[in-house]
Symmetry: C2
Subunit: 131 residues, 2 copies
DNA sequence: TTCCACCTTCCAATCATTGGAAGGTCAAGC
DNA sequence: GCTTGACCTTCCAATGATTGGAAGGTGGAA
């Protein structure tokens, strides 16, 4: 199978598959005589694994670890769980931060007339807020 | 005032102030004979405005618009509010996405023993999940 | 004059991806 | 056999916001 078909079946586009190869996340594909990359069913599985990890927000660095654990049949589930829960914490921290941003902004926006007048609590809020 | 003092008083580090100048977010500072950038009180205000906008999660592009509106004394508050509420939506969309990631991951993690055994629902969840 | 903290520019790295250019390959239709 | 078009290749660059470092000039105080 060529890279195009792998892209279609795995849901990871061809450009990105090449990139993953370049950064060493996936092994170098074997090639046809003319230089085309050749893939097998296993690669579909592999890229889907990566795609799903991405969709859970894991970084490439974390995904490399996950892939290592995935392939290591004698892994300790403890390690996987720790990685996952650390990531959950990271996510929740970001969520909290963004929620605070949204809340603060909504408070400012609520008091803004939102009409043709220049007077605007949002601008005022950005002008002076401590320090 | 030199860039270092501006950095301290505004809360935006010197490196970043130069960068903001380079991308045209702030005007080019005047210079001493020896080439040092010179700033005034107004610049403190300006950079604080930018810092606060950043802390609300606005992108540089949006901040450019906000700065334009800030300086335009005949702005319509409608425009500011629209910009703010669009940004709130962007934030809330991201929050929702990340919340889903965290929730999904927590579900997987909850069923994981997290001990020395290799068996792991998190890995399984990444292995097969539709498609 | 020496020392250190400060300033300057320029170039590169981060992170994960996407884009384009320039060119080679493959299979189908004529 | 030739052309067409879809596919493949590599390489380099941009995204967005910042941070890092190198290499060198400046300012003021001891």
């Amino acid at each position: 199978m060529n890279i195009g078909e792998l892209a279609k079946t795995s849901g990871v586009n061809a450009k990105l598959i090449r990139h993953y190869e370049a950064i060493g996340l996936i092994p170098k594909a074997s090639r046809t005589e003319s230089g085309y990359r050749v893939y097998s069913e296993k690669d579909i599985q592999f890229l889907r694994f990566i795609r799903r990890a991405r969709s859970l927000g894991f970084s490439m660095k974390e995904i490399k670890k996950l892939v290592g654990l995935w392939r290591n049949k004698s892994r300790a589930s403890r390690e996987v769980k720790a990685l996952a829960l650390t990531h959950v914490q990271t996510l929740e921290k970001k969520i909290t931060e963004m929620q605070e941003m949204a809340d603060n902004l909504k408070i400012l926006a609520r008091n803004c007339h939102g009409d043709g007048r220049p007077d605007c609590p949002i601008i005022k809020g950005l002008e002076n807020n401590g320090e």
